[in-house]
Symmetry: C2
Subunit: 285 residues, 2 copies
């Protein structure tokens, strides 16, 4: 079953870069051809949220369910742009949720391939989900207004995180002052997520948003080196309303070379649309 | 490769209840026979942390690496006690970490079986891990001393969560007063995790600890009904020092029938030994 959703214009960059082509179902496993696109990378390696969104697209098509209610990716190897394939293996399909395992394999010039991420996802349709009680214990944290935040794509301070060229993402000024050597000392990163070409932010874009900001620990006086993600889990909690999504990332515990980064994403109506947590390796300089 | 560790007395209840027997490796997949033991349940269904620890045991044996640095389980069906089998499929083995997928299948009387949990885990050896920088942004939260907390196994208020009979777990008085109808109104659950038979708390026991307390939302005025876990992720951050482990659970966002519960576990030296997060269905009465 290959259901098409959502009905975004195929001309949007994110939809082009996360297009997957179903090539068959063998022994229950759904196979897709795809391409890890250039331009969604940091120094040549595809962004982890982009890769999760790419696999999430295949999971949605294979299951006929649009929303990754909870998705975990384990990152196995850095990923340059190139031809790739995705497999989606059904685990269980229930009335409300379906669970699947998925993998992305990058092809190489010699005809070989390498597994890049392994994914476990439970998917559903949040627009028709039966729902249940609400009892929010906190509302959206404080953030500077969109217009007072600074475009992350400003190339005078960003000539390596190419992904920001695709985005209209903005950072709260004190949280991105590390870029000019003025780290805040607080492991917090706040900002607004949006696409440069005004593509609506849907639940799949939230997977990208969860990893689209600089690491919160760049605001500590640690070496500003690569912070490789070991594992990223995103809980999508609601379908976002139109408009940019407010994003909050925070690291509390850098301990013996490992750190967590927790994220919250809130839509323009003040609804919690996603939470994320990743385990990453602390920068070693 | 089936390496034995750690060298706990096999007489401890937790080791008996999480014993797995390797029965062969077929096409790279490690097969184990096991048994979901009675007595680790809530009203007849095995506790989610116990099931994660059981699968974690097989993952450790299959990989020769003792510590689940990050492990995610998706819960597919309730699980009564009974004979079961576990498969562990290697995904990638590197120098520092190895990644595996695993499944637990419960057998039924008719010779059939049902998948209970699907697991994705990246494992290592934290005792020899190369480590790296530390920059802790927070220390251990406040908790009442062990002796001032109340035994969760007190059967005058616990005749359904049988797992507490195996544990010497204690709850902070105001956080477990919901049991006598006096919910605190704060979705927080603090306590100390230990075994009734004084088994040391190792990294595998932390998987159990991450789901061994009553849901923090029992302190809200929601129906005190079952809170089924959809997904649980545990990051094991260090090997615990001897003694009970201080545990902190907190739910911030109950929204449209879904909630997260975040956990922190700290050892007797004040070291962060694990973080957890689960996505669960809110109680519906």
């Amino acid at each position: 079953m290959a259901t098409e959703f959502p009905a975004h214009d195929v001309g949007f960059e994110f939809d082009i870069a996360t297009a997957v082509e179903p090539v068959g179902v063998v022994d229950g496993v759904h196979h897709f051809d795809t391409r890890v696109h250039p331009g969604w990378d940091i120094v040549g390696n595809a962004n982890g949220g982009y890769l999760m969104a790419l696999v999430g697209r295949a999971v949605a098509l294979a299951t006929g369910r649009p929303d990754c209610v909870t998705i975990t990716a384990h990152y196995l190897a850095p990923c340059p742009a190139g031809d790739a394939r995705i497999t989606v293996t059904p685990v269980r399909a229930g009335r409300r949720f379906a669970t699947t395992m998925a993998s992305l394999f990058l092809r190489d010039a010699s005809g070989g391939e390498k597994e890049i991420i392994r994914v476990l996802a439970t998917v559903g349709d949040l627009s028709t989900d039966p729902g249940g009680p609400s009892a929010m214990q906190r509302s959206m944290p404080e953030i500077a207004p969109f217009d007072e935040c600074l475009l992350m794509s400003d190339t005078s301070v960003n000539d390596f995180a190419h992904i920001h060229g695709r985005l209209a993402t903005r950072g709260q000024p004190e949280d991105i002052a590390f870029r000019s050597g003025d780290a805040s000392g607080r492991a917090t990163m706040r900002g607004w997520f949006a696409f440069a070409d005004d593509r609506p932010v849907d639940t799949r874009a939230l997977l990208l948003a969860s990893d689209a900001f600089p690491p919160a620990v760049f605001n500590l006086r640690l070496p500003a080196a690569w912070v490789p993600t070991v594992e990223l889990t995103v809980h999508v909690r609601a379908v976002p309303a139109p408009g940019p999504v407010a994003c909050f990332f925070d690291t509390r515990f850098v301990q013996n070379g490992l750190l967590e980064e927790d994220g919250e994403m809130w839509d323009s109506n003040g609804v919690l649309v996603a939470q994320s947590r990743q385990l990453a390796l602390a920068p070693r300089g």
